[in-house]
Symmetry: C3
Subunit: 368 residues, 3 copies
Amino acid sequence: MLEAPVAEPEQRTTSQRIAALNRHDKPFHVVLAQQFDRDQIEHLCRLSEMIRAICGDRQGAQFLTTLLSHRRAMLYFIQPSTRTFLSFTAACQILGMPYNEVRNPQTSSEVKGETEEDTIQVLSNYFDLIIMRHPVEGFAERMALKLNQMRRALPIINGGSGKDQHPTQALLDIYTLYRCFTTRQNGERGVPRMREDIFAGKTIAFVGDLKRGRTVRSLVYLLCRYPGVRMQFIAPPELQIESDIIEYVDRYDVEYEFVDDLRHAIGDCDAVYMTRLQDEWDKAGESSRIDYGRYSLTEDMAPLFKPGLAIMHPLPRRHELDSRLDNLPQAKYWDQVRNGMWMRSALIADIFNVDTAIMDHYHSYYAY
Amino acid sequence: MLEAPVAEPEQRTTSQRIAALNRHDKPFHVVLAQQFDRDQIEHLCRLSEMIRAICGDRQGAQFLTTLLSHRRAMLYFIQPSTRTFLSFTAACQILGMPYNEVRNPQTSSEVKGETEEDTIQVLSNYFDLIIMRHPVEGFAERMALKLNQMRRALPIINGGSGKDQHPTQALLDIYTLYRCFTTRQNGERGVPRMREDIFAGKTIAFVGDLKRGRTVRSLVYLLCRYPGVRMQFIAPPELQIESDIIEYVDRYDVEYEFVDDLRHAIGDCDAVYMTRLQDEWDKAGESSRIDYGRYSLTEDMAPLFKPGLAIMHPLPRRHELDSRLDNLPQAKYWDQVRNGMWMRSALIADIFNVDTAIMDHYHSYYAY
Amino acid sequence: MLEAPVAEPEQRTTSQRIAALNRHDKPFHVVLAQQFDRDQIEHLCRLSEMIRAICGDRQGAQFLTTLLSHRRAMLYFIQPSTRTFLSFTAACQILGMPYNEVRNPQTSSEVKGETEEDTIQVLSNYFDLIIMRHPVEGFAERMALKLNQMRRALPIINGGSGKDQHPTQALLDIYTLYRCFTTRQNGERGVPRMREDIFAGKTIAFVGDLKRGRTVRSLVYLLCRYPGVRMQFIAPPELQIESDIIEYVDRYDVEYEFVDDLRHAIGDCDAVYMTRLQDEWDKAGESSRIDYGRYSLTEDMAPLFKPGLAIMHPLPRRHELDSRLDNLPQAKYWDQVRNGMWMRSALIADIFNVDTAIMDHYHSYYAY
């Protein structure tokens, strides 16, 4: 009666993990940024564009709300988060999908001695999709495999787990870059393709606390799919990007360099991805000795910016991103927020196979 | 100007209490399990089956969401509960009924010196249905009678009150048993009838902390409506079922026995209703001296199970129900969870008289 | 790159503030009660009446839920409030507008060092309307002006800020008075006009803690638009209405008097607006020395009431309003609660310009 033991996620190779998450006879789980290849990324970016366009008028928006009104989502958000939470709920609302939330299972039966796996298995009976944010690394992945064994399997979207993965943030970031670097080709109608060489020769700088920022890790995974991209890692030595990411980048033959001062590098950047100091992970205030001013983007650097520079930040920000830059055309961080809502809508639509209905609608009414 | 004094619930007989809750000129309140007779139980079970079937495809599910989109529910949940809460919200969503929640009125005007009765009367103005979970025994009943006196009366569903009553749990439990013990008769189309003799000769065992489990009490009330049912109460002496329930069982001439070891009895059971030790009601850890292992269902008992045994548990569970039994065909406790969602949908549909619309739809499209 | 400095709200005149909130090229923000002139008040009161009528049957209610299903609201409620919160969510539900809530941004990125302005700017990307309740006076107004500078401006409704303003409460209060004092004229069809002289010769008494009750302040602003209204301020000297309100009343030539005992005045009142002692603002229990009994409405005063008296209270109440009066025809405080839901629906409908669709629907189906 016992199931064959399943290797723990950490003992498996990434491709074994991806294969287990994407079984053809099971729901599609979104757990790792590495799951997405170039075709899937393009599909999701273009689908996001279409949803954005369709939502632009009332008839279109109301069409979208009919797509998933027969499904229900659970947002299982154990780690505090307002913006990722609201981004997902907005995505559910755009598609007309009712949802509910579990924020603090301590108000629940766990106080009566139930395991968290049991709680999720029970609650899964009420829903068709679980969107999960959890402090424990690998927990979303473990639950995805666990749910695959139930009679009524259902998909999981990882909305951020531990210090490790934040795949939907990576998707919204690359969608933002797609919007910055793509122009419609001559004669092209509808939403432009995301060409394989979109980032060829482009310099994308990651700045700040690269060691502890899961958004940077996840975005690097996705960018490696595009030939010719160049990366700069601009960080204090103590907070430089970790070696597993560098190995990944090396495997994909991506050109990169380490830089330790933003001011010298900014003039060459096509995109600059700012991050805040994640000092909540400090054990003894060690990052308080770092001069983070060298990893801050300030108003006086504006004359150095390329006209087409994309300034990005996963937010929240502190002083590393000067609020006096907010109204520049190069500032794309508010756009990222809104792009996240469209991308998460696209992802959910894709999981439930209503992407073709969206594309058909778009091509009938909006592609001219 | 003063109302005639109303006898307190506890001074009234059960039939007086039921009559007050089911007045023809007032909304139908669901407060006590004893309110439901066999016809109503059958109606609700069959309605649940129909809703389940209709929800099986997108067109059907979308039809259901039109039924109560013009009504609004308040979930007034003062006692912590995630699963009952989400079961009710899913039911509301299935019927398209918007809802809102009040979890902790302390964040509210009560801190400004308002009584809880006033709070509920005020909030009732925004809603058409109150679903209430409250730690105080009899509170839902008192509020139902209070609301009946207002100009704009509205129905209450008791989602669990004190140690006493949990009528919707009892309804989902009996619905689960109906699904286990009913087969379609020769030539019968659509949803099968719930025959009066459905439990005749069946042995249903209640196991564990029977003294303090309100789900057992409520289910016993309902089972007594069915001639020929046999009950076993398998519990440590300190936690045996209370005398008022035995008096009730006696009144209905139900055959029962007390057993104090599960292993000897399990082979004869057609259904076994497991419960956890409710030690949160302990005053001085007295239940810690009990050997609860004798009231636990373990994997090594599986060879003793009848093939048609229904293993039930209101969940959450601890060790009294071995997780290695989870994938057995006899395990019905995950089904109970999902059945609760259908039953609560049926109950709400019934209260608002959209049950006939559901039956019509079912007979037009699904009964073949 | 810096914006021209904007004068702080408190340095501006009220008309300058109103002009800044009601710019033709920007969304309409509802921040101050003083923003509303007589025409707008009448429009909103009549629109509320129409929404109430349309909601009276299922087809009408379902029509309303299609009006704003393509928009989304954020309820940013930093100050605890259950009833105002639920009143707004019910209004959103009536219009079919999905919403989400931010109750405690401390669970959010603010712990990571973000300013509240940044938080709101970020979250505004997911929504089309912000409904805000905030403990800081003037905060809603500041955010409205801030949002006007963003590429994607969106409207704010002030759901109560500091001790100062509660404009939607004032609107529901005047709507309640309109319902009490208006009768359909001979031959008039549909919803009656709100005549300019509706309050001419009517005595409206404000009773209790007038110094610290923002609902009284806001309602006085609106009543001053109506010629011939008479006001009584019935309060202990320590809690009398503040001088800025008296100056406002003087400017509009409204007749008023100070009274210090309710019992002597009640027989002359056409409306009496009761308020509770707001002792949560006490610094050292100073209001505990006040004999609040003289500012309480009790059952023994009932013989003194005019038949058409409107007893109002913003609720929650304590002892200042005897619950034995609840079932009198003069008791309008439960009506106020429900009126708030209709008025807030009307306001939101008006902001999004679906008021004409409502009026058209009303005139087609309900005006006879």
